[in-house]
């Protein structure tokens, strides 16, 4: 399945690896922040109702 990358394998894989890592990091961070903020907001809203 792996395509033949020849002598540029390092460059191509490095570029894909780094980019995907950065995108994954950004998505992960955004989702994490969103989840955390949602939870905190819910906490405070619940507290307000009591």
């Amino acid at each position: 399945m792996m395509p033949e990358l020849g002598k540029y394998a390092g460059a191509v894989l490095g570029a894909y690896g780094l980019s995907l890592l950065l995108i994954a990091g950004l998505v992960g961070l955004s989702v994490w922040q969103a989840v955390r903020m949602h939870a905190r907001l819910r906490d405070v809203e619940e507290r307000g109702k009591e």
Binding site: M1, P3, E4, L5, G6, K7, Y8, A9, A11, V12, G14, A15, Y16, L18, S19, L22, I23, G25, L26, V27, S30, V31, Q33, A34, M37, H38, R40, L41, V44, E45, R47, G48
Partner: protein, 230 residues
Amino acid sequence: MQVSGRFLPWVAGLAALCLVVGLIWGFFLTPDDYRQGATVKIIFLHVPSALVAINGWMVMLVASLIWLIRRHHVSALVAKAAAPVGITMTVIALMTGAIWGQPMWGTWWAWDPRLTSFLILFMFYLGYIALWQAIEDPDTAADLTSVLCMVGSVFAILSRYAVLFWNQGLHQGASLSMDKQQHMSDTYWYPLVLCMAGFMLLFLALVLLRTRTEVRRRRLQALILRERMA
């Protein structure tokens, strides 16, 4: 909030679909270029991320203008949410470019106009994000960053021309103009379009998500403030 909540999963799903298909197509199913060898596959990351990096700044500019003129709060938050996404895309474009440049031009980095312009764009993003971080009052921060974004846009364009004047460069011209058929064969063009769409949708999804986070942060601060007052 409701509208964005309903759209978000679709946009995110579509982004993921486009990206997965486009990147797999680009990575596994395209032939090597006769001159550039396998490194041509980097284009499927390099060009879309550069595109989104520039358009991200445009989104910030438009959102800032809407905030300054209409005082629409969500608009300021969109600008705030877009900046980290834009800077990440700038970094991806710069790094994939360096990795691509190494085998092709024999150097990781050259002070070529396009590369230099992107580095300058990176500096602008950095200053913008730093200003958001530094100011505590949210409305003041929104106002000041909007003013900075507008002035920065003018200077970014000036820098672009200054850099062109300064050095004429190695980087090939735009390979994606309307007459693209002359530059690029369809084998690369279709997956590239898919990847560009994927990056755009990813940007949209991330900005939506981050804006929702910011809206909630505002609400949280307001609630805490009200509790303290009571």
